[in-house]
């Protein structure tokens, strides 16, 4: 897990944190036996050391040791495991690679973790039809690697793509730097096989975008493991673009960089990617990667165009002219693929690199309408000053998706202030007309902020739909939706309005 250096605790506030390790009730040997009837004994993990390695995802502050972990090897075994859970009335949590950053794959107390790690086959690379059929445990980057010999690739590219699974991507509707032009997981998944809470198996979606009946596929994508377990995915593959042109441009201010993005949009150019970094994140990343970032520039943009050569060349000169007009102080145009990779490494390694300039940090994920980027960054800077904490910014500027990194020192007792600042930033995004999350999901982390974005009626309707799939709350319970158990214990801004809460909680 090269990129996952999130040793910083996030979310836990000592013993009263919702995720604090409470030792699970010893599972009856009966349940373990029932799983051993459908799986070889070594694929049913009951010992504490084994179970402990599944206690959290990338958001390490939320922990819960599961009652049992099972490692099915194919879709039939997944369905058999789910049926065992159904028979015993036990909740379960699907788990891909555990790189999620919202506590989505955190186990539930007395529940089972169903790991998809052994479902790792690429079932088909269908060149003629430009699609790939995958088991859910296939790593995102493996898809593009398998497709590359045919001049094809899989577009959504989360920064964690070497280590996250396509099943996790489906559950989170993951995005990546190139999603501005190409869209998110939901735009690339055609068809899925899903095991429902009762162990039955259905196919959602179809071989084309053509739909007969409601888009159940689209509903499932991004549902964070709460509607079932995906056991097979068919994704679209795209042709590798003829030309790729990238520029790394430094700007005298964040505003100048932001205005540049606005003018690019106004010029009807849709870049494959537009990423922004501020000086703090560049300082960290440069120390870690030597990617060639200018550490004392207030802001930099990495802009990439791809497509047919005739189109890209014309747009690229337009693009660099726009950068110049906004006072770009340096423009670096990598000449070869290798050099381009280096620039991207500087961007993609930013989260982890922040560990070099701060003992602890929190990765936040929020979205604002793109035209409010400058405003939100000014507000974040002010909030950071008030809290006495530094905030580094790395983000997908093209679609307004921010990743503020709140830097703090656990040892200096700054944890709670950092936690509060981070939450306030996500909720500020909602206030500015945006969203609590652009790609990391709600999970356990932000469930209590959901009432900031949605009314109790909105949430109640989502709940009705959830119960249509999973009437007994067995799939990943306690995630996405605010629960009294989780949020009742949370201090400060997490607490939803009591009236709103009443409307929601009735249905839980």
């Amino acid at each position: 897990m090269p990129e996952r250096t999130m040793e910083a605790p996030h979310g836990g506030t000592g013993n009263d944190a919702p995720g604090a390790a409470t030792p699970p009730v010893a599972v009856g040997p009966e349940l373990a036996r029932a799983f051993r009837d459908v799986l070889p004994a070594d694929l049913v993990i009951t010992d504490e050391v084994g179970r402990r390695s599944y206690e959290c995802d990338g958001l390490t502050g939320f922990r819960q040791i599961p009652a049992l972990v099972v490692l099915p090897r194919d879709a039939d075994e997944v369905a058999a495991c789910v049926r065992v859970c159904a028979r015993h009335g036990v909740p379960f949590v699907a788990r891909g690679a555990g790189t999620g950053l919202s506590g989505g794959a955190m186990p539930v107390a007395d529940g089972v973790v169903i790991s998809l790690q052994k479902l790792r086959r690429i079932l088909e690379i269908d060149v003629e039809n430009r699609r790939a059929v995958l088991e859910p445990g296939v790593y995102n980057l493996e898809i593009s690697k398998a497709a590359a010999p045919y001049g094809l690739y899989y577009a959504p590219d989360p920064s964690s793509q070497q280590v996250c699974t396509i099943g996790g991507n489906v559950a989170e509707n993951s995005g990546g730097a190139h999603c501005l032009k190409y869209g998110f997981t939901t735009n690339h998944v055609l068809e899925m096989e899903v095991v429902l809470a009762d162990g039955s198996v259905v196919t959602l979606g179809g071989p084309t975008g053509e739909q007969a009946g409601p888009d159940l596929r689209g509903l499932f994508i991004g549902s964070e493991g709460t509607l079932g377990i995906c056991t097979k995915v068919t994704v679209r593959l795209l042709q590798t673009p003829e030309t790729v042109r990238t520029v790394l441009a430094d700007f005298p201010s964040i505003e100048a960089a932001g205005d540049t993005v606005g003018d690019i949009v106004d010029a009807a150019i849709i870049p494959a990617a537009v990423e922004m970094m501020d000086s703090l994140s560049m300082e960290a990343s440069e120390a870690a990667t030597g990617a060639g970032l200018t550490v004392d520039a207030p802001a930099a943009l990495i802009i990439e165009l791809d497509g047919p050569a005739d189109e890209v060349e014309a747009e690229f000169s337009h693009l660099t002219a726009i950068c110049e007009r906004h006072g770009a102080t340096r423009m670096h145009v990598p000449a070869e693929a290798e050099e381009r990779q280096k620039v991207w490494k500087g961007r993609k390694a930013a989260f982890a690199a922040v560990g070099r300039i701060s003992p602890d940090y929190i990765v936040q994920d929020g979205v604002v309408p793109r035209t409010r980027l400058a405003e939100v960054l000014t507000r974040i800077a002010e909030m950071g000053r008030d809290a006495g904490l530094r905030v580094a910014n790395v983000f997908h500027a093209g679609d307004g998706n921010l990743h503020p990194l709140v830097l703090y020192s656990e040892a200096a007792g700054e944890h709670d202030a950092a936690e509060k600042l981070s939450t306030d930033i996500a909720e500020l995004c909602v206030e500015l007309g945006g969203s609590l999350s652009g790609e990391h999901g709600i999970g356990t982390d932000k469930a209590c902020s959901m009432p900031r974005m949605f009314s109790s009626d909105d949430l109640a309707v989502m709940h009705r739909v959830r119960h249509a799939f999973d009437p007994d709350d067995r799939c990943n319970p306690g995630k996405v939706f605010p629960t009294p158990r989780l949020c009742g214990e949370r201090p400060g801004p997490y607490r939803p309005h009591p009236l709103e809460e009443a409307g929601v909680i009735e249905r839980l």
């Binding site: 998110f184 039955s200 975008g209 053509e210 009946g213 888009d215 159940l216 042709q239 189109e311 999901g441």
Partner: protein, 385 residues
């Protein structure tokens, strides 16, 4: 007795749903009134065309919120003033179809090759449920994973499950230039030729076969799109040429006209299969006429004799090839099967319908038999939530 009501605000819409007892048929401009399942007679027709116009348009954010009853063509005209568009092109738009109607019927046109359908462009919605609940999902930003993407449920719901009040859409810039390359080609040769288009680097927005020609649409900048069109014509060889602008317009209009054609004795059948299955399935539909086909997406629209056996056989043939099919416009009164065999996921559909509209007030019959009519005793069908 059917009564028509035309609400003009969200409050009026919600009140209409709460105040009217009984069943409701949701109607937009009526351009797809005879698509999918035949609706049961309803107590009330809820006409959405009073909910019309742009709610907010932020050109800089490239998003727009629109009332669902807005005619799609009018919306495109308004957005065009800002050099923006909703990047879908369903044939019915020319007949005055509303945005909500296009969404509910999951309609899409040739540009779906590049942009997908409305499900790929919608980023939020406000819906009204049968019990009067007003619910929002998604939001105003293109990137957003907070909560379920409930809006997707209404895409293809054919006027069941809930009423769309407002939709928020992602916009794209209007291309400076569009150019079309036409290559004459028998239907049997379209797959191979389309593969050559796809394997070339020109990145077409649409590739469609109609009336003995393969049409490729190139969109982009002034210099870029034309250069790409010339390049493609060269790659495809002597039978291909870049069409003059008027000829291109005519070719695409003829294509759209075939898709929306109505006749007295034929029904329009729309299906999608993997591209490699498409030629085989088309060949098997022996009585098909008026064929338009997208050899790279695998979606085709054909006219079949309005005969229940012929249509049922066509549905079955598509299902055997792993695809999906829906019957569209048909002669008035023709009793023809709307869908193929119910997939396993119909159980989920029924459970979702039971949770959102337990009495099946909205669009009764539209998704039948996948969503069966409530039984004699008036009990809702499906699993109770």
């Amino acid at each position: 007795m059917t009564d028509t009501i035309t609400p003009r605000s969200l409050d009026e819409l919600r009140d209409a749903v709460i105040d009217r007892p009984g069943t409701i048929r949701i109607a937009g401009a009526g351009t797809a009134h005879d698509w999918a399942g035949t609706p049961e007679p309803a107590d009330t027709v809820l006409d959405t065309t009073g909910l019309s116009g742009i709610v907010t348009h932020n050109p800089g954010d490239m998003t727009v919120e629109v009332w669902a009853g807005t005619p799609f063509g009018a919306l495109q005209t308004d957005l065009g003033e800002h050099h923006q568009r909703v990047a879908v092109d369903p044939a019915r738009a020319a007949e005055g179809a509303t945005l909500g109607g296009l969404f509910a019927t999951a309609d899409a046109g040739p540009r779906s090759l590049q942009y997908g359908s409305l499900r790929d462009l919608v980023i939020g919605a406000t819906i009204v449920l049968a019990d009067g609940t007003v619910a929002r999902s998604g939001g105003h930003v293109i990137k957003n994973v907070a909560g379920y993407d409930l809006t997707k449920l209404l895409h293809g719901a054919q006027g069941t499950l809930g009423v769309l009040a407002r939709l928020v859409l992602r916009l794209h810039p209007t291309p400076q230039v569009t150019a079309t390359v036409a290559a004459s080609c028998e239907r049997s040769a379209m797959a191979g030729l389309a593969r050559r288009v796809a394997d070339s680097p020109v990145e077409p927005t649409a590739v469609e076969w109609h009336a003995g020609r393969l049409l490729s649409l190139l969109e982009g900048s002034e210099s870029g799109a034309e250069a790409r069109a010339r390049r493609l014509a060269e790659i495809l060889g002597s039978d291909a040429a870049v069409l003059a602008p008027d000829d291109a317009t005519q070719a695409w209009e003829a294509h759209a006209a075939a898709v929306r054609a109505r006749s007295d004795d034929r029904a329009v059948f729309r299906f999608g299969v993997t591209p490699s299955e498409l030629p085989r399935v088309l060949d098997a539909l022996e009585s098909a006429t008026g064929v338009t086909a997208s050899p790279r997406t695998g979606v085709a629209t054909v006219a079949l004799p309005a005969d229940a056996d012929v249509v049922a056989t066509a549905h079955r043939r598509v299902a055997e090839a792993g695809g999906t099919s829906t019957l569209r416009q048909r002669p008035a009164g023709a009793a023809l099967p709307a869908f193929g065999p119910a997939p396993a996921s119909a159980t989920v559909l029924r459970a979702v319908a039971a949770s959102l509209d337990p009495d099946q007030r909205f669009g009764r019959g539209r998704l039948a038999p996948w969503l069966p009519l409530p039984d004699q005793t008036g009990q809702p069908t499906g699993v109770s939530a």
